[in-house]
Symmetry: C2
Subunit: 436 residues, 2 copies
């Protein structure tokens, strides 16, 4: 089975635990059976592979998220990277071309597309097999619809022809107003879970009608010129060979702190203390600084290097307008090689803590406008500075002047304090090189 | 005029902006006329010296607070340091011996004792002169009493003989219950502002009756054996030559976040944003991390490297029982030479940001169990490492192995990242040396 996980979205809604790099799906909020916290993408990957050990999973994502996907799923998945954001249809078309041309998947194979931020119980994924069968059998698109549990104005609705378990789809309605949503539900409409299966060729043929391209390389290089369009708009609302498989699973898009607090069922994640007088309040703390909550009612507190949110739960549903008042400089990030956290921003200096995972290494790069110092806290590895390789371990100090090419290679997990010094320090001041 | 400022108190009540080193009086919360934030000790020093430019001010304080006093008032005051905490009477006796033996103040000079955390309007201090006159004239103790503005169970009460502006004191009542407080107020009792004047010899004679000592050095070296006792218990409740000067000033001990929020009149101090839907809520943020408050009612948020407090205002009055659940490891401190902030605590490592003020230097010291690295961010100065002096400026890196003696001297303000590496890093692992 080929599964395409769509990983998009921006970071405002679950600020400050999300930022411009770490979207909702990458926040480790959900305790698995081993008691470890996992993110939505790690959870859904685990659920899918538990159900289908042989599934081939590809993540379609943006340039800015690719490092985080690699960090969280390592090299267990394929990654199709959009050169820039163009909404779901071009992203899916691109990923299908990637499967066909790069991974050599036969065109008549069915593919399932699934949003990465789908929070479902394990048994939901058992439906995927049936879904591909419906798509293959009907040579069209098969969607998963869930029975509405309440009126939702933020969801998409599927209106089936019949109320049988598998039905043709009559029409779609995206984010209806409450009145329309109520009527739709009364008439038997289903929530669109965003999961759909189809034979690759079916969507690729439609893609060739909408976008002028020959193959993967061609599509990749001409991507910037494509008009953004959603899969729903481009295909679902126009194609006529569309079926829906009905599920009674509870659909929750976990787009708010409130929804997340309900689902995790934990009052405190991270370092926090709630007084007995607190009611219906939650602390989600990614900082090393403890949070003390006293006498709070219906309040969510969420904190990271990025910021500290204290909101009543009702208003926490949409904090985006406020977040825009706050600097969005990225203060933490997961990279393909490990992770980083900004400890201090000073006048013409930035101090960062890095963890480079065993066996990984940074790109070989330099900066035009800043000097850097690495102080190795612990671990073993090697640095290459202007072509000179040397072993490093705890206590070693490496100084790098602006212009000098450098990388660090971790033999065991390496923890490093990096001090950057220069005018106008920015992540853009970085040039990558091949290792000589 | 000789003024003795008592600086004591611990850090729990205004946690997290106070900690074991930085008590309430050192938090910079009050905007002065220049728009700069000052602490209570800086404010009262400014108010007293504005009123009495020639006043000789001595701060009686504990060992743990001495550096912070020096940092905030520099060398403009004398400092009498208690070898350990013994409540107010021994502290005052010690400070008087310091004035007499070290500063050579004649024994018949009057002294005014004043708590450092007294938050009053400027004109209040004009009463100090009259107070010393009353003490001198009556050869006894003269107290400042303020007319109660409300029932207070946390204050001390003075019961005067008469309702005239200056009266003999009949008795005292410390922290009465509400019923008693009401009756006292009805009978004309006054709040004890904690300010009192006396001829030095008057209290020193009483001190010699209670404590066996000859002079300053003797008192200092035998201090650990002294029984703790408050000045109120030791003297006020027993002496009979006590007068009170009545003031109508408003007495506010600013011991709670609520009281501080009212007095400062600022909704936000530091990096914060309150949504329009917030009511009667305050943000006091000492972190570089922004705070966003949405839809809060009657909530105070206060944050530092030490912790983040989110409390309803009513319960914020006593958070001490909760604070005891939280690690009190000191995460920021003001030192005689500047200040420090802990950026990161790792496995066997601590990373700190230091600012050494121009013209100041650390003690020459070493550590038995940790190596250190200094990365100079900016400024100019000199380091001495095992006797070798060298100039340093932005970008320089100095490595110091365990055992090696070192100091840094700032010619201009020096900002430094210090990385400490070793097992069980503690502030106690430090040995000071004279510079060769």
């Amino acid at each position: 089975m080929h599964i395409l996980l769509l990983s998009g979205g921006s970071g405002k809604k679950l600020w400050p635990l999300s930022n411009d790099i770490r979207s909702k799906q990458f926040i480790k909020l959900f305790k698995n059976e081993d008691g470890k916290y996992e993110s939505m993408i790690q959870r859904i990957y685990r659920q899918i592979t538990a159900c289908y050990p042989d599934a081939k999973i590809t993540v379609a994502t943006s340039r800015s998220q690719a490092s985080t996907v690699l960090n969280q799923l390592e090299d267990k998945v394929g990654i199709s990277v959009e050169p820039e954001r163009k909404d779901t249809f071009p992203a899916i078309a691109m990923a299908l071309e990637y499967l066909k041309d790069v991974e050599s998947v036969p065109e008549d194979e069915p593919v399932i597309v699934c949003p990465v931020d789908l929070y479902m119980e394990d048994d939901f994924f058992a439906l995927f097999e049936e879904l591909t069968d419906i798509a293959r059998h009907n040579r069209g698109i098969a969607l998963l619809g869930t029975v509405p549990h309440e009126v939702q104005v933020d969801y998409g609705y599927i209106i089936p022809d019949t109320d049988s378990r598998i039905s043709r789809v009559r029409s779609f309605k995206e984010k209806p107003d409450a009145m329309t949503a109520k009527r739709l539900i009364k008439d038997g409409a289903l929530f669109n879970a965003g999961v759909f299966a189809f034979p690759m060729s079916y969507v690729l043929d439609l893609a060739h009608e909408l976008i002028a391209f020959h193959d993967y390389d061609d599509l990749y290089s001409s991507y910037r010129g494509i008009k953004p369009i959603s899969f729903d708009r481009a295909i679902l609302e126009k194609a006529d060979n569309i079926y829906v498989l009905r599920s009674t699973a509870f659909l929750n898009d976990l787009g708010t702190w409130n929804a997340i607090a309900e689902v995790t069922g934990e009052r405190i994640i991270g370092d926090g203390y709630l007084s007995d007088s607190c009611r219906n309040s939650n602390v989600i703390n990614d900082l090393d600084i403890p949070i003390l909550a006293v006498g709070l009612d219906d309040i969510v507190i969420s904190a990271s290097q990025q910021g500290i949110l204290v909101s009543n739960k009702e208003e926490s549903v949409d904090i985006s307008p406020y977040v825009s008042h706050i600097s969005q400089e990225v203060m933490f990030a997961e990279k393909s090689w490990g992770e980083l956290k900004v400890l201090d921003i000073g006048d013409d200096s930035v101090t960062i803590k890095l963890v480079v995972k065993a066996g990984k290494h940074m790109s070989y790069h330099n900066h035009e406008h800043r000097d850097e110092v690495w102080v190795i806290l612990n671990g073993n590895g090697r640095t290459i500075v202007d072509g000179m390789e040397q072993p490093v371990s705890g206590g070693d100090v490496i100084t790098m002047e602006a212009g000098c090419r450098h990388t660090i290679i971790a033999d065991s997990d390496l923890t490093v304090i990096e001090v950057q010094r220069g005018k106008d320090i920015t992540t853009k001041d970085k040039k990558k090189y091949e290792l000589e």
